[in-house]
Every structure is written in C-alpha cells, then in structure tokens.
C-alpha cells in the first residue's frame, strides 16, 4: 500500500531541466513532473507478494488534482477492501469504510488500513525541499556514469535535509539521454538498504513519459515484493464534485 504513493509520486518523468548541480537537476525534474499540469484519473493495480501470506492484488480507481492538493482513491479489489477509499482535499485527509459508512480523519503518522503506509506518505512535498545531494569524502556530489544493464545511466545519491522523510538516503539511476528514473534504492537512517524500486515500463501520454509498471523489492524482509501497474490513464479536467465525500460513497456502492 505504501508503494501506491511512491507509484503515484513517480507518475511522470520527463527529461530533467538544468539546475545548479547535476543531482539537483535530477530532483528538480522529478518535482517538476510530479506536479501535474492537468488533472488525471487512472486504474492502479498493486500485486503484493509475501512468502508467508501469498499474493494479494489491490485494485483502485485513482483521481488526482494538484491545483488544490486533492486526490481520491476508491478500492476495487480485493473483495474485503472493495468500496473502501481515501479522500484528501488540502490539509484534510479522510478514510472511508464501506462497512460502517463512516469517514475517519487520518493523522499523518497513522497507519492506513493496517498497512505500512502512513498518512504522511500522501502529503505533497517536493523532493528538492526534502533531499540534498550527498557529498563524498572529497566534498563532491556523489554522481557517476554507469550502465544499468545495457542502458547508460547517472547514478546519484541524495540525503534528507529534514528529519520527517521516510528514507534518509536514496540512490537514483536515471537515463543519461532523457533523465527517466529507472532504479531507486532507499536506505534507512542507519544506512541499511530497505527497498529497491525498478521502473520497468513507460508510456507517453500528453507528451510526457509515465512509468506504468514499477517493481518494489523489500530488501529487509526478503521475498516481499510489490508490482504496480497503472493503466487507463486519462489526462483531463476533473469536476470539483469528484473530490467530495459523496463521490467516494457513490463509488463504494
């Protein structure tokens, strides 16, 4: 579930704009593309694989409007989650439970539906505000040119500037030709590799690259893996009435 956010954060990745540092330019590009110019809706499917629990597929309808930090997610699968949903408008974030037909306020450090995702994961914050280029022993930015399989990439390392980000250290592998993020490693505060993400498939919509297939590998608890598939992406102006409790209730029927 936590990966939903990451999937959505990395929804679009066009070429990086130039900035004062090469690493910053990568972060800046991600920020620029995270902030969607128009509204969007899509179907999102998450396939979670856990050795002890088997495979679980979570499906959802997803609506997003960045002009007022609004999004709505209505769960479509699995059966026991179907009809539940989440709505955020500005600073307000609610969780809707179909069984009780109630909306509940979600705190930023509250677990979402018993998963490892928290309210704070759904906040819209810029990477450039959260992370800065990490420097090596020589004081230089940690960026290098590498090959990821057959693809020439930049490997760059960033560290958190603030203390309320989920991963204090990240390493990005971005294509050298068009800046697309292909791989990302996330490290804990103690420097342990916690998660590796691969962005496997892209599509071009409205002149922008969108990663439609991501794989997140849990490096801490081996065997856990989440695959995110995004489909039926529609970029269009969404009506104000969509980002309301009434819509979420209607979608849950």
């Amino acid at each position: 579930m936590k990966n939903v956010l990451i999937a959505l954060l990395l929804f679009l990745f066009p070429a990086a704009a130039l900035a004062e540092s090469r690493v910053l330019s990568i972060l800046q590009a991600i920020d620029d593309n995270y902030k969607l110019k128009s509204d969007v809706r899509a179907d999102v499917a998450l396939t979670q694989q856990k050795p002890e629990q088997g495979t679980k597929v979570i499906g959802m309808d997803y609506y997003r409007r960045d002009s007022d930090d609004a999004f709505l997610m209505a769960m479509t699968a699995p059966e026991n989650e179907k009809g539940n949903g989440y709505l955020r408008v500005g600073d307000n974030f609610w969780m809707y439970r179909k069984n009780t037909r109630t909306f509940q306020h979600v705190n930023r450090d509250e677990s979402i539906g018993g998963t490892d995702a928290h309210g704070s994961d759904f906040e819209t914050r810029k990477l450039t505000e959260l992370y800065a280029p990490a420097a090596g022993a020589d004081g230089q930015e940690l960026i290098s040119e590498e090959m990821l399989g057959q693809v020439p990439v930049f490997k760059s390392e960033v560290k958190a500037k603030v203390n309320d980000v989920d991963y204090p250290k990240k390493i990005f592998w971005t294509r050298r030709d068009n800046g697309l993020l292909l791989k990302q490693e996330s490290y804990s505060l103690s420097g342990t590799l916690m998660q590796t993400a691969y962005f496997l498939k892209f599509t071009v919509i409205d002149g922008r690259y969108i990663a439609v297939k991501h794989v997140y590998i849990d490096e801490f608890e081996k065997g856990n893996k989440t695959v995110v598939d995004i489909s039926n992406i529609v970029v269009q102006k969404l009506d104000d009435s969509i980002f309301t409790k009434a819509t979420l209730e209607n979608l849950s029927k």
């Binding site: 002890e52 705190n107 450090d109 928290h118 203390n163 991963y167 804990s188 103690s190 801490f220």
Partner: protein, 584 residues
C-alpha cells in the same frame, strides 16, 4: 452485665452441635466473602501496581508533538523534569517508550513491541527487584542489557523467542518508523529470555532506555513521556498531578533572531500564529495586508512580514530570506530559509520586527532548533490584542476525572490536528478508572452472592432461635419469676447470637486466610491465556485489607444481631406465669 455474658456463653455451649453447625455455615460465608474481596483487591493491585505502574506510572506526563500519537517527545528534558522538582512523593521518574516494530529472527518474522527500560541510572534496589520479579528471566541476566560491548542487547519474551526462532546470543533485525516517520533498521542481540504470565507482554522486547532512545532518534536533551512512581498513590497521585499540571502552563513561543536578505540584516522576533479555523478567521480580520494575498498568508507555509521589516530587508511576497538564531542546546546557530507570503501593516500593535508564521511551519523550526530564548517571557506580545492568536510553547491539555473523559479528550485531540506539542498530565486512576469500576463490580457480585448465602444462613439463625426459645420457655419463665427484666432476657438472646457470629467470623477469617495461603501456593500455567494477567508468576494474588476484613466481619455480625433481635424480643415478652406453665 457480666452475668448476662456468662449466661449467654454458657447457653451457646449447651447446644453444641446445633451451634457448631450454624457457626460453620456462618464461618463459610465469612470465608468466601473475605477470599473474594481479597481476590478483587488483588486484581486491582495487579492491574495498577504490576501492569499500569509499568505502562503509564502512577502519574504520567505525556507529550505528543504535532499531534503524532507515536511522536512522544519533548525537546527540553530539563524543563520537563523541573516541573517535578520538590515533590517528596515522587519516588522514581521513568521515560516511557514503547514502539511497534517488525522483527526478523532466524527465518521467521513477526511484529514486536520494543520497550525501553532503565535498569541502570538512578534505579534503587527495590525497583530493580520489582522489575526482576515482574519479568522473570529464564535465561540470561538483566545486567547484560547495559553491556556496551554488545550491540543493542535485548531481552525477549519466551513466546516471541519461539515465534522468531531465536535463542540467547542470536541477532534480531528490526525495522520501524522512528518518531519522525523515517524508516530505520537496527540489530538487537538477544541477551536474555523472560517469562511473563501477562499475555499482553508476550510481544515485548526490552532494550536499555539509552539504546532505545538512540534508535528512535532522541537527542540527549530530549525526553520521551514521563511516568512517575509515587508513594501512597491512592492518596497522593491526583493532587500531585494537579500541581505538575499547574507548573507546566506554557508561555508564548517565539524565536529571537536575525533575518537576512543578502547584505541586509535585521533583528526579528518570529512568532507562530494559531492555524485553527477560528484563529485564522480572527487573524484575517486583524491583518491589514499591503502586499500578497490572505490565502497565501494563511497557508501552512504562510510567513507574514510587517511593512517596516519588509522594507528594511527589501523583501516582497515570493522572495526568500534567511533566519539565524542561537540554539539552546547546540553550539552552532540555526540557519533557516523562509519565503515571504505576505506583507502587512504594523501600526496595530504587532511590532515593526515581528514576523508571523503559520504554526505548522513555525513549530517545525522551533522544536527542531529550540531557540536560546526558549523559556523566557515573551514581552512583545504581553497584553497585546494579538497575543491570543500567537502559538504557545506547547498545548497543555485539561485534566480529566475518569477514563471516559480521558478517551473523549484524545478523540477530540485527533480531530483538532494540533501543530504544537500537547502535554497531558494524568494519573492511572483517571486513565484506568474502569479497573476501579471492575473492582467495585467484582465486590458487588461477591457481596450479592454471599448475601444470598447469608439469607439462607440467617433463616437458620431465626429458626434456631425460635427453637431455642420454645425449648427454653420454662427457663425464661423461671428467670423472669426470680426477677430478670424483659430487657435482660432480650439482651441474653441477642448476646448469644452475637457471640455465635463473633466466633464464626473469627473462624471464617482464619479459614479465609488459610484458604488464600493454600490457593496462592497453587501454580497455574496460563502463558497463552488472557486470564494469565490476573496471576502473579502463575499464582493467584490476594490482597486482604484491614478495612475489607473488619468491614465484612462487622457487616455479618450486624445482620445476625438484627435478625436475632426480633425472636429475642418475642422471648422477652413472654409472661412469666405462662412460660412456667409451658409444657412440651
């Protein structure tokens, strides 16, 4: 009177078998009442002094930064401790830390609760013994928790050790989100395995407090919520909590520093404005903006500069400025950057150098870099019409009377989305008043059951007395004929019942204590049973109290005497002539 006493005692012995049987029934009732009463007191004792005392302390001072349930941190440890000074009833102050984590053992993973325990600093021998008795080690030593040569030594419950497939000297890996929602991983070395009858303690893993704080991201001058062990808590806890609450009243939060825009520099006082809807409404009425929009000014990152300051620094909305100020606990200055959202007039008592900042943004800067001026009086705002709109150093929650109020308070708190640190002072008698209710209900159930038993016994008493009176009618006639007054006859029978009850109560009390001693020796193995928490080290726990035992004895005696009064009065009212003629 002495004669009456002697006669009544002699009469008791005259009908030995009948009185022994009746007395045995009474003693049985007294015994049940005392055992049951002591057991319900024992449950309360376990809940309060063996569970709640470790979970919340007798009195707790709880901190929640930015409304975060798991973010229990207060940035100025010494200031929090100062509120507890000069309190002789406070026997011990602990930092209370319990954190949910995912642990991976040998091929197995499970959720755990990591609890920080202080087994070293400032711990007296009595407390150390209490810890060791409450959480018995089946393997390892408590001292090893403090061994600096071992990486994060941990004591694991027996059940969790089985689930995670670990034993002593094995390494556990844990992952968790620390207080600031950062993913963190750590390695724990199992130095001991403990056994506890409380099923709720089975997911617990103990780690020394200093190691726990380091893992969770505390700095040396920061503290977690405090739990206090106090002397005679039932009498002192509430008053103590009230006094601590009074001492923790916050002042206004502000940062004295220097704002800079390139070469331009100016001394400023930064204050947070409250961002709840009502305060924002009042603020929007008071603010006279000269540049920028109200919408931008009231956003979560809103920063409003007074016109003279904006001019001095040559700043306009959308432009960034630096803020530097001395920090209370760090040698280096804090250097932060903010963006101007709006500029306002300052001729309304706001001050030419007062920067207003949305408390969401303000508290981030304030708590993370506690300014050197922290704790000093905020003079610019004193008496100002703006002062009620400024953010306090923390939000002191009202005291509550019972668990229901306490729950309501926290439900309210989750709705209000506080931006500052909330401070809540409570006693376990408020947070766990339901346990006191449970004890009351248990006592009531016991009393009702025993009263039913006694009703049956008292029917026997009445019947016995009626039979005695009938059998002794001629004797009553004789003693009345030789001069005994009606009142004395009545007293004689009442005294007989009283002595019977007295001896039965004494025997019942002794039997009750013997039963408790016997039952306490039985060992129950209830590791996986929720009722296990009602036992101490697998044994039933009885706490007889003087008031409880004496009260029960008095109650039984009073009921028996009242019951005996009416047949005794009937006996006294017999005519001596009729009584002497009585023949069976």
């Amino acid at each position: 009177m002495t004669l009456l006493l002697r006669l009544s005692l002699r009469n008791l012995l005259r009908q030995k078998r009948r009185n022994v049987l009746l007395g045995t029934a009474m003693a049985l009732g007294v015994m049940i009442l005392i055992v049951a009463n002591s057991f319900s007191h024992g449950i309360s004792d376990i809940m309060f002094n063996k569970i709640m005392r470790w979970v919340t302390g007798h009195v707790s001072v709880r901190f929640n930064e930015k409304g975060g349930i798991m973010r229990e941190i207060f940035r100025d440890r010494e200031r929090a401790r100062a509120a507890l000074e000069g309190e002789p009833d406070v026997e011990q102050v602990d930092e209370s830390i319990g954190y949910f984590m995912r642990a991976i053992g040998n091929g197995k993973s499970d959720n755990i609760i990591l609890v920080g325990v202080n087994t070293g600093d400032g711990i007296d021998e009595k407390t150390r013994k209490e810890v060791e008795e409450s959480f018995r080690l089946v393997e390892g030593r408590w001292e090893d928790l403090r061994d600096p040569a071992i990486e994060n030594p941990a004591i694991v419950s027996l059940e969790k050790a089985r689930t995670l497939n670990v034993k002593k000297n094995d390494v556990l890996r844990v992952r968790f989100r620390n207080m600031f929602a950062q993913d963190q991983a750590a390695r724990l070395t199992v130095v001991g395995i403990m056994k506890n009858d409380n099923i709720f303690m089975q997911p617990v893993i103990f780690v020394e407090l200093s190691n726990t704080k380091a893992m969770l991201g505390f700095r040396p001058y920061e503290t977690a919520s405090l739990s206090l062990k106090v002397a005679n808590p039932q009498k002192t806890a509430r008053a103590l909590a009230d006094r601590i609450h009074d001492r923790l009243k916050p002042g206004l939060a502000f940062i004295s520093g220097e704002a800079a825009n390139g070469p331009r520099r100016h001394g400023v006082t930064v204050v947070g404005y409250k961002s709840d809807d009502a305060s924002k409404q009042k603020l929007s009425e008071k603010l006279k903006l000269t540049a920028g929009t109200l919408e931008a000014a009231l956003k979560s990152d809103g920063v409003i500069l007074p016109q003279p300051l904006a001019e001095a620094l040559a700043l306009s909305p959308g432009e960034a400025f630096g803020l530097s100020f001395d920090r209370k606990f760090e040698a280096t200055k804090a250097d932060l950057t903010f963006k101007v959202s709006a500029v306002c007039r300052s001729d309304d008592g706001l001050g030419d150098d007062t920067v207003l900042m949305n408390d969401d943004k303000f508290y981030d800067a304030y708590y993370e870099n506690l300014p050197a001026n922290s704790g000093a009086a905020f003079t610019p705002g004193k008496g100002s019409a703006w002062a009620p709109l400024f953010s306090p150093e923390w939000i002191l929650l009202d005291r509550t009377a019972n668990t229901d109020d306490y729950k309501k308070k926290y439900m309210e708190m989750s709705k209000k989305k506080w931006k500052g640190t909330t401070v809540d002072v409570s006693t376990m008698y408020e947070t766990a008043s339901d346990i006191l209710k449970l004890e009351g209900v248990l006592n009531l159930i016991t009393l009702s059951a025993v009263m039913v038993l006694f009703f049956i016994i008292l029917l026997g008493v009445v019947n016995t007395l009626r039979m005695t009176i009938r059998e002794r009618t001629r004797e009553i006639g004789t003693v009345r004929a030789i001069g005994m007054q009606q009142a004395d006859v009545k007293r004689l029978f009442v005294l007989e019942t009283f002595f019977l009850t007295l001896f039965a109560s004494a025997a019942g009390t002794l039997a009750g204590f013997a039963a408790m001693a016997g039952l306490s020796r039985l060992t129950f193995h209830l590791q996986d049973n929720p009722f296990g928490m009602l036992f101490v080290n697998g044994h039933l726990h009885f706490v007889p109290t003087f008031l409880g035992v004496a009260g029960n004895n008095l109650l039984i005696s009073a009921i028996a005497v009242v019951t005996a009064y009416f047949p005794a009065r009937r006996a006294a009212r017999l005519s001596p002539a009729k009584a002497l003629r009585h023949f069976e």
